[in-house]
Subunit: 251 residues, 2 copies
């Protein structure tokens, strides 16, 4: 980690810390080749949002958290980047919600699954938590997807009614919505297929989202949910925010 | 490479091909840890430009090419991503301009320099070109920079009057401008320090830029250069283009 990133008062500390976590995860074999490129795309959109939680993203975060709290079978679906960027914080959230997590990755290989499961169990042990961790033995399939990416666990993602799937790809988001699930995504690009297809799209950086959720988790689901929530309004609002950012810079 | 990327008629073929080239270069040890993240940031901005050469970028490309042609000592400065994304095309451009290239990387290690020099000499040999390739034995320093990133070659970058430095970092761009050089950069983020500090900023994807330059290289420098070129207008125009893209998507 560079000297800049070691200084928490540096304005880009958080961004550099996330980059560092990802580079470490890559060295441990937790990530697909395309993971760092995907993170870079996210960095660019976060830059255009001013590297902050914008008001509409906070509304979406609260609404999503309320839905998870009110769910009968909530599950947090984790891919490589999610584990790398906010593994501990996601386990804490699952513990507070009393729900399982499931490792579910796009480019599934035994080596990557093993690296991710080992890492997550180490984090869980260090935190003293007892969150059920699914993913090691998939025994169900998501209809409409082909190959290894369809694999999931029957008592995890397959049976969930409300799913948090940060950093999901468009095809799988679509397939999960088609199963009738409420799909909550975290995606910094408000124009992505995932962002457009999800039930609730949080246009914000993942570690900030999970930190916000953990801080808000003492509130009740009734207080957190917006009765008039429309995901299209959240998406439009984030586009407006980026356009304003560009207009300010242009002047 | 995925099946999508193997199909040149796929709308995202070019983008997926660039990603593939970068992943191959990473495996050969040509890239720093942060190179894939930087590429991802570029991908996001390219997406917002519609993955095309916008009119103001073509004006900047022509002007930059004209300046290189009219220069006394033009040099193309190449970093890891530039070699990975458009190594062959950059050698062809240097050959047409009759100028040297110099490998000049931010995180300089003997292993990365060796990997890049080897790769570039292999490309040169396959193309049957005889472009002078500097970088192996730096014997000068760029004033105002500290550590290995200041290293350069006396007969290359140090003595150049016009420099093409694609994908440059802000500090080095500033230091090269301070030396009195005309600094031409390729940067997909029109708001970056590099984009703001350069003499000419081409807001476009590198392989498209070099391809455009090679196609335009039979024209004369007088025809290519814009007498009333203002870099700030190029930057404003690219921000306008992104804002229009977002507005279209919002409607």
């Amino acid at each position: 980690m560079s000297e800049i990133a070691a200084d928490p008062t540096h304005p880009r500390y958080q961004s550099l810390l996330m980059r560092h976590r990802l580079e470490q995860a890559a060295k441990k074999g937790m990530l697909a080749d395309s993971a760092l490129i995907a993170h870079g795309r996210g960095e660019a959109f976060d830059y255009l949002l001013g590297e902050q939680t914008i008001p509409s993203a906070l509304i979406a975060t609260k609404h999503a958290l309320g839905l998870l709290m009110a769910a009968e079978r909530p599950v947090l679906s984790l891919n490589g980047n999610a584990v790398a960027l906010a593994g501990s914080e996601l386990l804490q959230l699952a513990s507070r919600l009393g729900c399982p997590v499931e490792i579910n990755i796009f480019y599934r290989t035994p080596e990557r699954m093993e690296a991710l499961l080992t890492h997550l169990h180490e984090l869980q042990s260090a935190l003293g938590l007892e969150v059920p961790i699914f993913g090691a033995a998939p025994d169900a399939r998501i209809p409409g997807l082909e190959g290894p990416r369809a694999k999931c666990c029957k008592d995890g993602i397959f049976s969930a009614d409300v799913l948090l799937v940060p950093l999901e790809d468009g095809d799988r988001c679509e397939a999960l919505v088609a199963m009738g699930k409420t799909v909550l995504v975290v995606d910094l690009n408000p124009l992505s297929r995932t962002a457009q297809l999800a039930s609730v799209t949080i246009v914000d950086e993942l570690s900030r989202v999970v930190s916000n959720m953990n801080e808000l988790s003492h509130q009740s689901s009734e207080v957190l949910m917006s009765p008039s929530f429309h995901n299209s309004e959240v998406l439009s609002s984030s586009l407006d925010h980026i356009a304003e950012f560009l207009a300010e810079k242009r002047d």
